[in-house]
Symmetry: C2
Subunit: 666 residues, 2 copies
């Protein structure tokens, strides 16, 4: 080793030890956290951030920055250390000291939005990797739209054994390999330790073989050898496939009595072991103090980004005004100026010429308008394109050879799809929508939750949304899914009743830039309920008077959503025929209805009326609107396999049953 190399090596060690010290000290102070991973991966992270990552702490949202995703989110002190050391204003030493305290950006796991430089919320294992597929995909899509000079960043992921054991990792690596997302570099913290002990207790996989089988470029290195790390990342960047670097590391590296064991994984090292670690690492600084030379070296790594981002800005400025305008608009999340007018014209047309179609078909009709207006939509389906009706005319498939398309054949990978959608949304510039059957929201639920938590705009086109799908039977018939998604914070669940409401719900979903939306859509046709044009988006109130009682002064209020609105309307006619003033309230979104004023809600659901709900789903939750003495018609068991009309009768979800129940209360 030459003198320069020796010096460089020494500084590398100091920089890596700064991460280790900050991590063990912050975790000790909060008496809670996971030191093992940040200490084990400090060398890899140091090389990555000081020699490769293109980022600018002064402009964290630089669109072409390299993305760094800490899929093993429990190692959050790694990213907090990096952000602090490289000079992000949003990550002060005070923040580090307040690790895991209320209102501090240094949450237990990295939380998107809490500090700049955190590209996504991680912690639920496997999802960092799976979401990164969407980020890397976003990079390619953008390059195909604006030119590769504008979009050519890398996506680096640190993942642990847990991430790779989760099934979603397979969906992700299979997709990435298939799409040849060569700018994805996965740094696997191969430390052979799980919480329960040695990974050998639970897995015997040949990880290299697994990734190679998925079409990845694979290397294995000593994760504590800075030179080897540097060479490997360089080769990974050169490969024309996504790349795995297996970094053999020692968990809790530096802690003389605990390193290499699961005891460093999820608990503070303890004062005594920390003192010994300081000694072993030759780290003499007090807790939360970074020696000037080390700080200097780290800041330099951060400052290099300014040149890169400035150079990018020039390329951006050279874009043609059209391209730039569309790019800026897409990044801002705004829709086109003409979008709402186009949707209004479409609504007016449908109001004038009513259609009897399934709401999944109505969704496709609305999407034809949407996709003609917007360049940021990226559609797709988990191998149910013809059923979800997510493809519109002129859409082209995204393939490994051509990223100019806007339709993703995601394969039978609901979870992977929804995670990739999160990645597309986080990347910026895209509004992803993706379809599967409503019942399979269960498969994708962890990604839907993460979208909600991260306030990302993902739109789920969930068709075949009740026993109305018929013969496929109970495994395919959602029952509890509406309730279970309505209960999830920051998710808008929409269940439109006809083509007009479907268009309105699409509009709402596309405007909700901080909330994912579920569109719950029918397999079977529905009678169009709305036949006069409203310029107002009535679904925006969540629930509204669809068919008023003849007297204007109802004795009975029937609430319904989706395909059951026409049953409610039939019951209304029967009750009115017998002289009972009955109102039908369409409730496409209880989430939005709950956000209206108490006055509005009371005006729609007046006190002193008999209240009934009907929905071909679990009745769970409807008591909120019908009270202790209301009527809730639905399905609180699993469905069955039979033609849809037989099932509605069998389960008593009919206007006759509704009328009979109401009469008992009158």
């Amino acid at each position: 080793m030459s003198d320069t190399e020796l010096l460089e090596n020494e500084m590398h060690n100091k920089m890596a030890n700064a991460i280790r010290a900050l991590s063990m000290d912050a975790i000790q102070k909060s008496n809670s956290g996971h030191p093992g991973m940040p200490m084990g991966m400090a060398d890899v992270a140091t090389v990555l951030f000081s020699k490769f990552m293109r980022f600018d702490p002064q402009w964290p949202e630089w669109p072409n920055r390299d993305r760094f995703v800490l899929s093993a989110g429990h190692g959050s002190m790694l990213i907090y250390s990096l952000l602090h050391l490289t000079g992000y204003d949003g990550m002060t030493m005070e923040d580090i000291k307040n690790f895991r305290q209320l209102h501090s950006p240094t949450a237990g796991h990295p939380e998107f939005g809490e500090a700049p430089g955190i590209e996504m919320t991680t912690g639920p294992l496997g999802q960092g990797l799976a979401t990164s597929v969407g980020m890397a995909l976003g990079e390619r899509l953008e390059a195909a739209r604006t030119g590769s000079d504008i979009s050519d960043h890398h996506t680096y992921i640190i993942a642990g054994d847990g991430c790779l054991m989760e099934g979603v990792s397979q969906e992700a690596i299979s997709m990435a390999g298939h799409l040849k997302l060569s700018k994805m570099v996965l740094l696997w913290d191969d430390n052979s330790i799980c919480i329960d002990g040695d990974t050998g207790m639970t897995t015997s996989e040949d990880m290299r073989g697994r990734f190679e089988a998925a079409g990845w470029h694979v290397q294995a290195i000593d994760g504590h050898d800075p030179e080897a790390i540097e060479v490997a990342i360089k080769l990974a960047k050169e490969a024309d496939q996504p790349s795995l670097i297996a970094c053999k590391t020692t968990i809790g590296y530096g802690a003389p009595n605990k390193q290499g064991t699961s005891s460093t994984h999820g608990a503070p090292l303890g004062e005594e072991e920390i003192a010994l670690t300081r000694e072993a690492l030759g780290w003499e600084a007090e807790p939360f103090v970074i020696p000037d030379d080390v700080q200097e070296a780290w800041r330099e790594a951060g400052q290099n980004g300014a040149t890169l981002s400035a150079a990018w800005k020039e390329k951006y400025n050279a874009l043609s005004s059209d391209v730039k305008a569309d790019y800026d608009r897409r990044l801002s999340g705004d829709l086109t100026a003409t979008f709402d007018d186009a949707m209004g014209a479409y609504k007016a047309k449908i109001a004038a010429e009513p259609v009897k179609v399934a709401t999944r078909k109505a969704s496709q009709m609305a999407l034809e308008v949407v996709n003609a207006e917007l360049t940021e939509t990226v559609g797709g389906s988990a191998d149910l394109t013809g059923s979800n009706l997510t493809l519109t005319s002129g859409m082209k498939a995204v393939t490994a050879d051509d990223f100019s398309g806007s339709y993703m054949y995601y394969g039978i990978r609901e979870f992977g799809m929804c995670a990739a959608m999160n990645g597309l949304a986080l990347h910026g510039g895209f509004k992803p929508y993706g379809g599967t059957f409503m019942v399979f929201t269960d498969y994708a639920r962890p990604a839907i939750r993460l979208a909600a938590l991260m306030k990302q705009q993902a739109i789920y086109v969930m068709t075949h949304d009740s026993i109305g799908l018929g013969e496929d039977g109970p495994t395919h018939q959602p029952v509890e899914h509406l309730a279970s998604l309505r209960a999830m914070p920051n998710v808008n669940v929409f269940r439109p009743c006809d083509a007009i409401e479907t268009a309105e719900c699409w509009q709402l979903a596309l405007h909700a830039t901080e909330t994912p939306s579920i569109l719950s859509l029918s397999r079977q046709g529905v009678i169009q309920q709305r036949t006069t044009h409203n310029t107002e988006n009535l679904c925006g109130k969540g629930g509204y008077i669809l068919h008023e009682a003849s007297s204007g002064n109802p004795k009975v209020v029937i609430m319904a959503s989706g395909t059951e609105v026409e049953i409610a309307a039939a019951a209304q006619q029967a009750l009115e025929a017998e002289g009972t003033p009955t109102r039908v309230v369409s409730m496409p979104s209880t989430d939005l209805f709950d956000r209206q004023s108490a006055e509005y809600r009371a005006s729609v659901l007046p006190e002193g009326t008999v209240k009934a709900s009907i929905e071909a789903a679990s009745t769970y939750g409807w008591c909120k609107y019908t009270g202790l003495d209301g009527i809730n018609i639905g399905l609180d068991s699993f469905g069955a396999s039979a033609p849809a009309s037989d099932l509605y009768k069998y389960f008593g979800i009919t206007s006759d049953a509704l009328v009979a129940a109401v009469k008992e209360k009158l």
Copy 2:
């Protein structure tokens, strides 16, 4: 080929064509279904069932029968055809004709319990394979308990591309490879067709490499060559690893214009194409008619099983009476005669010597009693053993070399774990329980739903069940999970408030042989509420008066579950101190409470009282008990990262907040 071979070959073709004919005709008649797979895999299924499968249609529940799982459940006509042809009484030609009709056992997807010979419900892709891991594991565990003469069956799975794209397949094959479950044979219908088109649109995986990396024995054959199929299954049985046979097939084999395309996947072939298929296959029989010689050959395949099952019966009869008694009891699902007494004694002890422990710790204490009493429990955790506290003294790990243990280190595979638990329960003889964090029920939700649908007794030990887990933050804090699981049919959700209730909930879960149970358990310690011994299991009513109002005539009723019961108790004291008669209702299970008589429910929650609920979770659903004008204290947003006590204060889940809200209503 010799004359005998030619004849055999000819009969093979006829037998396979019988499956094809039944499939296409039944699907045509019901005008709904998936002919492509049964027609494509008819040759493989014919060889498997006529030459290998050990089963006895006269004794479908023969414990040592080979298991056959149609993971690609949409091809349900394949299994219905096989069951009918081999002579299961529960599958008549009438049933075949009533494919996909109400009350017919021939549901759209195979439904466990609808007909003997259907080992599990399939349709949600990947889960047949993942559940089979549990069946194959059950075989090994039983062999280690009673001797391999009694338990040495194989588990055969037919899976399609969809099954292998789902992430859970990776968790399954990784587990199976690790445990060297050599009696698992996976027949992959390698037809290169998905619903959206060619599989090449979505995947480029080297499937052989992927399985080899997971430690599987791998072969690839022509799935229409009976000899090759026979040789491959023979070799697979001889391998000392789980075995994959990639069967290259033509989807919709025999349909001259449609075979090999996705158009055969999920729709009837049409009368015209069916006529042409008959011609192409040389199948002259009318729909739903099986020529005598073909019927004879199939029945013979079915009848061979009688000899095998009789031979097994002799071995069974030779078991020592102790072993036999335990075996019989385990298979019956009954607990030991002394079980309830042991639990009663434990409850009495805890009532006399109250403890302040987390309910996860209380769960482990109860499990110590349970596992000392029962030989059928198989515990485990998805790599959170020390957090879930699922391991009890003396339990030994199950490993590839030793299946005499009863504890599974499932790895970071929540979905795979729960699917394997389903397989263990379906296998018979075992009551599986498995742990992870409550928030990760999301990862395992599709398997939990399948347990509920199949009425299987799986017990989920879900710890860290609220913001009470503290610093790990919102990704790890369940919010909507209680509501979303309560909404699921046939799942009992239990959230006990102290060590006594935890013991009672374990007892209920272990008695509920047709219902999976969720035990929602705390990270943090709780004050023991029950300090007098009740011989009755009070939790069995779901909700009950825990602390009566001083007057016996409450003005206020506070409902709570789990860790919030002590907050309710504190609020009661404050209100009583101010002269407001207040009752505390502990509600460990709303599911069970809903099943009580209206009288009982009204006696616990009397009309005319101010009703309040408090639970550190989404309030969704509580209006059912508190009404339109009640108080619901909970958390309808995501949590945050901070010490637990800070979070309770921050989110206003305190006795002060509760008292203040009640006073406003008084």
